[in-house]
């Protein structure tokens, strides 16, 4: 089975629509004239790549069109997927594949953090990991109850405190518990927040700092050092436009992000902002969310994603 097939289910609609558009371009303007490039530009803009990334891609394609004396639009489009794929930062180490890891999920309100934690908990269990969840969203109404339901679905333990508790203290407790139970994959849900809220971003910095410090000191049952690797992952909604870049930039500046997860790719949004984020900030895309069910999560493959995107 090709990588293509794996993600194509979730991306079917996206592919269809963008593919249609590109076919229109092909039918109408196979020649490499100005119209062709204009149409290509529009197609990429419509997919939320943003003007800078779009111009970047077009530059690269125009360059190779000239260098390789490509005959027509078809030949240029054949290189499009590769060009897009080449813009993604590659994931040197998948946080979820580390033997001992604690991952904190951060992002804007409603981006899909809690749901993603639930999905990853299930995936971890299926891989035989000892998973522990932590609810550091002590702010939003019923956030704790929501994660609780996901923990139940995935069949894992969740550490929670009352609403209004200090999220850093909850995270600390989560690591203590992981040490006591020997959990090796700890997933911590945090409250949604706008990157432009200084207070809330500071709070998050503290949560990560406290988690890191405690995770470094974790001991195994025999009393030997068994630190948990702490990673931070930004969860971003595929419908997000150009503000996504500002979000990623700020979260990265504060927390030094290790990866991005794009959710809601089962809609018609193409998630082109992920290209801009990954390219500009050098942050790899780790997973994609393609639905609301517990198994609606896929691994991310740049070429497969790009191909699926353009059909």
């Amino acid at each position: 089975m090709s990588i293509f097939d794996k993600i194509s289910a979730g991306l079917a609609r996206t592919r269809e629509r963008l593919g249609e558009q590109l076919n229109v371009i092909l039918d109408r303007a196979p020649a490499l004239d100005e119209d062709f490039w204009d149409d290509l530009e529009e197609t990429l803009i419509a997919a939320d790549f943003g003007a800078p990334a779009t111009l970047d891609i077009i530059d690269q394609l125009q360059d190779s069109a000239q260098r390789l004396a490509l005959p027509d639009g078809r030949a240029v489009l054949a290189r499009l997927a590769e060009t897009i794929a080449g813009m993604f930062a590659s994931a040197a180490d998948d946080p979820f594949a580390q033997p001992r890891a604690c991952v904190l999920f951060v992002g804007i309100n409603g981006s899909g953090k809690t749901t993603t934690v639930g999905k990853l908990a299930r995936a971890g269990v299926e891989e035989g990991r000892r998973v522990l969840l932590g609810s550091a969203d002590t702010f939003r109404a019923a956030a704790i109850e929501q994660l609780d339901v996901w923990a139940g679905r995935a069949g894992v333990e969740v550490i929670k405190r009352e609403r209004g508790a200090d999220p850093a203290a909850v995270s600390f407790e989560v690591i203590e518990r992981a040490e006591a139970t020997g959990a090796d994959l700890v997933l911590i849900d945090t409250a949604g927040r706008l990157h432009s809220s200084d207070d809330l971003m500071r709070e998050l910095e503290k949560v990560v700092k406290v988690t890191r410090r405690r995770a470094e000191q974790v001991l195994d049952a025999a009393g030997g050092p068994a630190p948990l690797l702490v990673r931070t992952v930004l969860v971003i909604d595929a419908t997000t436009g150009q503000n996504g870049l500002a979000q990623a930039r700020e979260f990265d500046a504060r927390l030094d992000l290790d990866g991005v997860i794009i959710t809601k790719l089962d809609g018609t949004a193409k998630g082109g902002i992920a290209v801009a984020i990954s390219h500009e900030l050098g942050i790899p895309v780790l997973r994609i969310g393609v639905g609301e069910q517990i198994d609606d999560l896929r691994r991310f493959d740049p070429l497969g994603f790009a191909q699926a995107l353009i059909g």
Binding site: G50, G110, A141, T239, G241, Q242, G267, I273
Partner: protein, 486 residues
């Protein structure tokens, strides 16, 4: 980051000075900048195309080319056109005489419906209504709990029909409202994708069952190009009367508002700007137009500062500040206020020229932190009377704060400078009214509440804070400034 549009147009036209007459090609160059600004704001590319074509026509038809300030004129034309498209006058919530009125909220997952529902209830309750919230999201775990908790905070009853079908819950909620004499039912529905046939049919069925007076679609201000597809699908399947733009407290430009207006003709009715129940605002097309063009939302920032100035500053403190008797404790308080406004960065971004200053890296947010640490190492006496700070005291403070004595000296110097500056301003204030015309009564000045000086901002050039919120402005000054900008 893109710079403020006016600055960019200034650049475009700047080179042309002395060339005499501008040409159509110059206007084209300006239009390219406008196109980029609109795309950066997530306005749909089709809408951008049409808009730019019209703006160009207008610019050519008017005397922009002849004018001495072409950049300002182009901005004015674009702003006017944008404001008009966004809806020249504000659209209000329409209620009928039926009891109960039904208001239904729809939208994508995570767009902010539940929060908006509670805010709407809060608003209506304050307007003398007795709303009932209905929890019709039966899919997302704990969604009904969330609504119930929000309802509890604002003391509005929440109807939940655990286990029942959403259509049934909606119906029962209306009946419950009749029985308990409530005049408005607000229906919170599950987030759904516009391509999810089954879920869209469900929304249509709820509508059919309870015949809402108003249906609002809640749209995230950060939504990208896809907003058009989504909104059109909702329009076709359930139709709606207006839009609530959510997460407007972020820094997204919110160009989707323009796309929605252009493609569906639906008005934006409210903007939702935060987690507080009171943060549902009526929509202001003119502010939105400025925001989309990246011209900084001066007005809301000033309003924010106004509220803070009024609620946070104690009379005494304000009076002391006005007399320029600054202490280090004031410095700390000022620091807290700057933070409440979102840090120096967000303050600057909202001011003309601020983005440029930020991009130039002239602002050091961490400077504030360092300051706080140093001040915390001072005794209360030292904070209140900075003249006590001799060499040995400074050395002790430096050791306590874990910094070089140099840093303490610098802070003290900065402090003295600020104090001097405030004194100077105080003197200006004291001049006779004839020399410095000032509206309002003199006596009021004693009660003035100051907006604090912003520490660390001294590094900025003349185009920065000096021309904006710097200095100590009274709440009344702010209000005036706010009104002017409206």
């Amino acid at each position: 980051m893109f710079d403020n549009l006016s600055n960019r147009l200034q650049d475009v036209f700047g080179d042309l000075r002395g060339k005499g007459r501008l040409t159509e090609a110059d206007i084209d160059a300006a239009m390219r900048e406008i196109r980029l600004a609109l795309l950066e704001a997530d306005v749909n590319f089709k809408v951008v195309k049409a808009f730019v074509a019209r703006a160009k026509e207008q610019a050519l038809a008017s005397d922009v080319l002849e004018s001495l300030t072409p950049a300002q004129n182009v901005v004015r034309i674009v702003l006017e056109q944008l404001t008009e498209l966004l809806g020249s006058d504000a659209v209000k919530l329409k209620l009928s005489s039926r009891i109960p009125n039904v208001i239904m909220l729809v939208g994508l997952q995570g767009s902010g419906k539940t929060t908006a529902a509670a805010k709407l209830a809060f608003r209506l309750k304050n307007a003398g209504h007795q709303p009932l919230l209905a929890a019709c999201d039966v899919y997302r775990p704990a969604a009904a709990d969330q609504l119930e908790s929000l309802g509890g905070d604002i003391d509005v009853r929440v109807f939940r029909g655990d286990g029942a079908h959403p259509v049934q819950i909606a119906r029962d909620a209306v009946r419950e409202a009749i029985d308990s004499l409530r005049d408005i039912v607000i229906i919170d529905t599950a987030g759904r994708l516009h391509v999810d046939e089954e879920m869209m049919a469900e929304a249509a069925a709820i509508k059919e069952a309870v015949q809402p007076e108003q249906i609002f679609m809640v749209v995230d201000a950060m939504t990208g190009q896809d907003v058009v597809t989504v909104v059109q699908a909702f329009e076709q399947r359930v139709d709606f009367d207006g839009v609530i733009m959510s997460k407007m407290d972020g820094d997204a430009r919110g160009g989707g508002a323009l796309s929605i207006r252009e493609m569906t003709g639906k008005p934006i009715v409210f903007t939702s700007e935060g987690e507080k129940p009171s943060s549902l605002e009526e929509f202001h097309p003119d502010r939105m137009a400025k925001r989309i063009l990246g011209m900084g939302d001066m007005v809301s920032l000033i309003e924010k500062a106004q509220t803070l100035a009024e609620s946070e500053l104690e009379e005494e403190e304000a009076a002391r500040l006005a007399r320029a008797e600054l202490t280090f404790d004031d410095f700390l308080m000022i620091n807290r206020q700057v933070r409440k406004l979102g840090g120096i960065g967000s303050l600057l971004k909202a001011l003309p020229g601020g983005e440029a200053a930020l991009a130039g890296g002239q602002v050091d947010e961490k400077a504030l932190d360092r300051m706080v640490v140093i001040i915390n190492s001072m005794t209360h006496a030292e904070r209140a009377k900075p003249s006590l700070l001799n060499g040995s005291r400074r050395a002790r403070i430096a050791a306590g704060a874990g910094v070089e004595v140099f840093a303490v000296n610098q802070l003290v110097k900065q402090f003295e400078e600020t104090r001097k500056m405030m004194k100077k301003m105080g003197m200006l204030e004291a001049q006779p009214a004839a020399k410095r015309p000032r509206k309002g009564k003199k006596g009021k000045r004693n009660r003035r509440r100051s907006l604090p000086q912003i520490p660390g901002a001294g590094k900025l050039g003349a185009g920065g804070l000096g021309s904006g919120l710097g200095g100590s402005m009274s709440a009344a000054d702010l209000r005036k400034l706010g009104d002017m900008l409206k």
